[in-house]
């Protein structure tokens, strides 16, 4: 069946019922996303940024994907449609064009928005717990486990008194004829 499909989301899909259902579901999803994250009528793309060299563009893409958008917190600066993300992309772009290094740009943003803008927080005293806490927990857990296992092994055989020993001998003596019969 020939068709003209103007829907950018499913430009490859056929006009089957499943395609239609999928398409409206996807549209609803995009719509919900746009509402939640305050996307305007026109989507932001990285196309508007032009670069002096492919290396600079790589740096830009690399940098913006390492930075978190504070409005849509599960999105990187590169991918977010939030208005604030666009402002910050422009800021990062401007600084790159001025020849600032990645570290300078990251410091600029951390000074203003805090460590939270970094998907990978820096290692410093206030993040030691975050970075090393899990290893400390594993260490302490392992040490406790080893200690418990050793204590169990080292536990002495229970003491027996004279009456118990006599009963034991009696039982062993009673069992012996069977063993020999085997």
């Amino acid at each position: 069946m020939p068709q003209t499909n103007t829907d950018p989301l499913f430009s490859m899909s056929s006009n089957h019922l499943i395609g239609k259902t999928l398409r409206s579901a996807a549209r609803a999803g995009v719509l919900a996303g746009a509402l939640v994250c305050g996307g305007g009528a026109a989507a932001y793309t990285l196309q508007e940024f032009t670069f002096d060299s492919p290396a600079q563009e790589r740096t830009f893409r690399d940098l913006t994907s390492k930075l978190r958008c504070l409005v849509c917190q599960n999105e990187s600066l590169a991918g977010s449609q939030a208005d604030l993300a666009q402002d910050l992309r422009k800021e990062v772009y401007g600084m790159l064009r001025e020849g600032k290094s990645q570290d300078e740009i990251i410091t600029f943003l951390v000074d203003r928005y805090g460590d939270f803008v970094l998907y990978q927080p820096q290692i410093k005293p206030s993040t030691y717990l975050l970075w090393f806490g899990p290893f400390v927990l594993i260490g302490v857990g392992g040490w406790l486990l080893l200690r418990a296992l050793k204590a169990k092994k080292a536990e002495p055989e229970p003491e027996t008194d004279a009456a118990e020993r006599a009963r034991l001998h009696q039982l062993l003596a009673a069992a012996e004829p069977h063993d020999q019969a085997k």
Binding site: V71, Q73, D87, L88, E91, R112, G114, F116, L137
Partner: protein
């Protein structure tokens, strides 16, 4: 036996401590990102006045007295929600309230002020997020408490109501007000 009781209690104690820590984590709001600017001088700015186009206002206005800098926009429902409280604070207290109109359009902002009252001593206009980025603004409303030396002492993320004013903001203002100049408490509705 005492020894084996301890050896059971220690891991149990550790587990409970970890559980308490994680449970506390659940009560935190990840949308409220603490600002690294608290305790540091307010970033300087020169912005146009909202009400008098062409007139520049610089951050020097923050020196010499405790100020509240309220980041707001007419498109922001929570700003509308807190507006009445700001009008009341402006009426009942002596604190200097600076309006920081953020990523907004001038006619819409002015209309909101004329319709719901203007609580601000001065209003600066930052439609392009020039100073907003320096201040680490990532949403509206946000309110900064600035002391007389121009140091940021507190950042409130989200709207202000009577309770927030009385319990969170007023104590900071009082703590950093110069002695002998008591701030009008103004926490009675």
């Amino acid at each position: 036996m005492a020894r084996s009781t301890t050896s059971y209690l220690v891991p149990l104690g550790l587990f409970l401590a970890l559980a308490a820590l994680l449970f506390y984590g659940l009560s935190l709001d990840p949308r409220k990102v603490p600002s690294p600017l608290v305790g540091k001088p307010a970033p300087p700015f020169t912005l146009e006045s909202l009400k008098e186009p062409g007139t520049q206002i610089s951050s020097d206005i923050l020196k010499g007295q405790v100020s509240l800098v309220n980041v707001w926009a007419s498109w922001c429902p929570s700003c509308r929600q807190e507006h009445g409280e700001l009008v009341r604070i402006a009426r009942d207290s002596d604190v200097q309230l600076i309006g920081f109109n953020w990523k907004d359009e001038r006619p819409a902002a002015l209309e909101m002020l004329s319709r719901f009252g203007d609580p601000y001593t001065l209003s600066v206009f930052d439609p392009d997020n020039q100073a907003g980025i320096d201040w680490g603004v990532y949403g509206a409303p946000e309110t900064f408490v600035i002391d007389a030396e121009g140091i940021i002492r507190h950042k409130r993320i989200g709207p202000i109501d009577g309770k927030v004013w009385a319990e969170e903001i007023l104590p900071v203002i009082q703590q950093f007000s110069p002695k002998g100049e008591p701030v009008n408490a103004a926490n009675q509705h």
